[in-house]
């Protein structure tokens, strides 16, 4: 097993080296009582203690709003200018394994079919350093959807907690480039140390007591479309959409013009399937006219439709933010389970 052992001070030194080399480092910082991802210039601000950030780091590869191109309309014609991606090489540092897996889900969406050049450009410039979890939070359920507190998916370089320090190991060529300087001064980690770190990951896994969501449920869920369970769930949903905004894998967006008739930008912005306007047509017809039909869409997209398109993987990484932040306490896992267990009814959630 390759990799190195770093003390807290050595980790700081490594970050200092990266910053001195001009790398943009985005890491969790505690700010106004909340942990958020931010570009840092001082390694002392980086907070790698237990717990996750309020938002996933997806906005650093898929911004909340970004220009697709700009336009200028003048008497002699219209000029369009391609968008510039305002990203430098960036390191997403200290990303929880669930969030790193969330980036892999976004990759499938934005790079798996029609390649989205803006996303592709940002993703190319991004190196992901994942951070294994020393403990789980009550809402965490990564193990129920195929993840792990020591998961490697979506990660270029893995950090695992080891006593007072860290073990670090590159997983991809990008990760190797980022770790290149470590080979000159950091202490090699032993197989035994890796085994210990893995054992503590397993202990965290065991502390997550949510039972697994089975891949085979995708077709059962698809068949639950007409179940009355959706009507019952939909009655609770406020349609506030916070679940989609905090979600590391939600990727729906709106396209809108920001400017005047003479100049401006065409932008895309995060959008949400839980809003009525998401699908309402100009005629007034709405294919998903009720909150029940919209809530059902969100759950089925993640657990029925996406898995059938992308090799059985869920469009959910079990970070639990949607559960923790829902103002009416809705739990997506519970919804999945209820729909799977519900008798196939002839309810009418859709219309």
């Amino acid at each position: 097993m390759t990799g190195w052992r770093l003390s807290g001070a050595e980790l700081t030194r490594w970050l200092e080296d990266l910053l001195r080399g001009g790398t943009r480092v985005i890491a969790p910082v505690d700010e106004d009582g909340r942990r958020v991802f931010k570009a840092v210039d001082d390694p002392a601000r980086v907070c790698l203690a237990s717990g996750k950030t309020r938002w996933s780091p997806k906005e650093f590869v898929f911004p909340k709003t970004e220009a697709l191109f700009s336009y200028a309309v003048q008497a002699d014609g219209v000029t369009l200018r391609a968008a510039s991606v305002d990203a430098a090489e960036q390191v997403l540092f200290g990303v929880r394994p669930c969030d790193a897996a969330g980036l892999a889900r976004l990759d499938a969406t934005f790079l798996g079919g029609e390649i989205d050049p803006l996303y592709a450009r940002r993703r190319d410039l991004t190196t992901v350093v994942s951070l294994g979890c020393a403990e789980a939070e009550p809402e965490c359920f990564c193990t129920a959807v195929g993840g792990s507190p020591g998961g490697e998916e979506g990660s270029d370089l893995q950090l695992l907690p080891a006593g007072e320090g860290w073990l670090v190991r590159p997983l991809t060529p990008k990760g190797e480039r980022l770790a290149a300087s470590l080979s000159t001064w950091a202490a090699k980690a032993s197989d035994e140390e890796w085994e210990q770190a893995r054992a503590s990951v397993r202990r965290v896994e065991e502390s997550i007591r949510h039972s697994a969501v089975a891949r085979e449920w995708a077709s059962i869920l698809e068949a639950s479309f007409d179940s009355p369970v959706w009507e019952a769930l939909g009655r609770r949903c406020l349609g506030c959409s916070i679940c989609t905004y905090v979600c590391p894998s939600c990727s729906c967006f709106d396209v809108n013009d920001n400017g005047t008739a003479s100049c401006g930008e065409r932008c895309r912005s995060w959008d949400s399937c839980t809003f009525a306007l998401f699908t309402r047509q100009a005629s007034g017809h709405n294919p998903r006219p009720t909150q029940a039909s919209r809530y059902r869409q969100r759950v089925l997209h993640k657990f029925a439709y996406y898995p059938q398109r992308y090799e059985g993987r869920f469009m959910c990484v079990g970070c639990g933010r949607c559960v923790a932040m829902c103002p009416v306490g809705m739990d997506i896992q519970e919804a999945v389970r209820m729909a799977v267990e519900a008798p196939r009814g002839s309810g009418d959630a859709g219309r």
């Binding site: 803006l118 410039l125 013009d257 005629s283 017809h285």
Partner: protein, 283 residues
């Protein structure tokens, strides 16, 4: 600064100029569009049934069918009802003004499979726009197809689209055009049918044998049309429709046009009735 310049940006439209505008009804018009860049014009290809994103800068984009057949490729045509933010803005433009246009997107009508068959086009309201391209296509290759019946309806006489063209089509050998208006939408001298499209379809008493029905209309019409088709013995494989959902990207990315596993912009917009029946009722 690194940019996406030089790479194909699928969101950035081509520019088209309105070459002509024809009023179909008080709020529907058909525009002929020409590409500003002759090279783009030369390379542009589409199939009957595909759609595009049309935009007014500063207002936004709207998805509309390509309303003319590639056999009549002097222009790109679109027929639109000024009912939403973007379509109202497009409707307010004058000849010579410039629009954004990107496409074509989606699949198309299986016109090759229809050879030798008798075809029934059933269009309700602005839904007729989505049938104009395949209809023009089969008319331009008249010898390859059997009898053609066009059943077109609208709320009132004033709301009927393609009035002049219907007369031209009617004059073609082996083509029959039936026009209908909803009860109350008729006026003195109206020589067409009066009745809802599904009812008129039933009254026509068409034998299903060897026919293909191509149908597009508002959701309520489609609901009753499927019932009428069932009642008259048409099978789900001989009926084709196009689901013109709300879309933003046209690329299978923005996430709003999916019906179950199917993204209308990618797997559609053209579906057989059999395929529609296999989808959840989310359209």
């Amino acid at each position: 600064m690194p940019g996406v310049d030089g790479e194909r940006n699928p969101f950035q439209p081509n520019l088209v100029r309105i070459a002509s505008a024809h009023d179909e009804t008080p709020d529907v018009q058909t525009l002929q569009l020409e590409f500003l860049d002759p090279e783009v014009a030369r390379q542009f290809r589409w199939e009957p049934g595909q759609f595009a994103e049309y935009s007014v800068f500063g207002v936004g984009e709207s998805v509309l069918t390509l309303a003319n057949s590639p056999t009549r490729a002097q222009h790109v045509e679109c027929t639109l009802r000024a009912v939403g933010k973007v379509t109202r803005a497009i409707g307010a433009l004058s000849v010579g003004q410039v629009l954004g246009f990107r496409g074509p997107y989606g699949n198309w009508f299986p016109v090759e499979q229809w050879r030798e068959r008798n075809l029934v086009f059933v269009g309700g309201g602005i839904g007729m726009a989505a049938l104009r391209a395949p209809l023009q296509f089969v008319l331009d290759k008249r010898a390859d197809y059997g009898e053609i019946l066009v059943l077109n309806g609208a709320r009132s006489i004033a709301d009927l689209v393609y009035k002049d063209e219907m007369n031209e089509w009617q004059a073609v050998d082996g083509v029959r055009v039936v026009r209908t208006v909803d009860p109350g939408g008729e006026a003195e001298g109206w020589d067409g049918e009066v009745g809802l499209i599904p009812n008129v379809f039933e009254r026509l008493g068409l034998a299903p044998d060897g026919r293909v029905v191509i149908v597009c209309g508002p959701p309520v019409m489609m609901h009753y049309m499927y019932l009428a088709l069932e009642k008259t013995g048409f099978g789900p494989d001989q009926v084709v429709t196009t689901l013109e959902s709300k879309m933003k990207c046209g690329l299978g990315l923005c996430g709003r046009c999916n019906i179950g596993r199917s993204f209308v912009c990618r797997e559609g917009p053209v579906y057989t009735w059999a395929q529609v029946r296999a989808l959840p009722e989310d359209s």
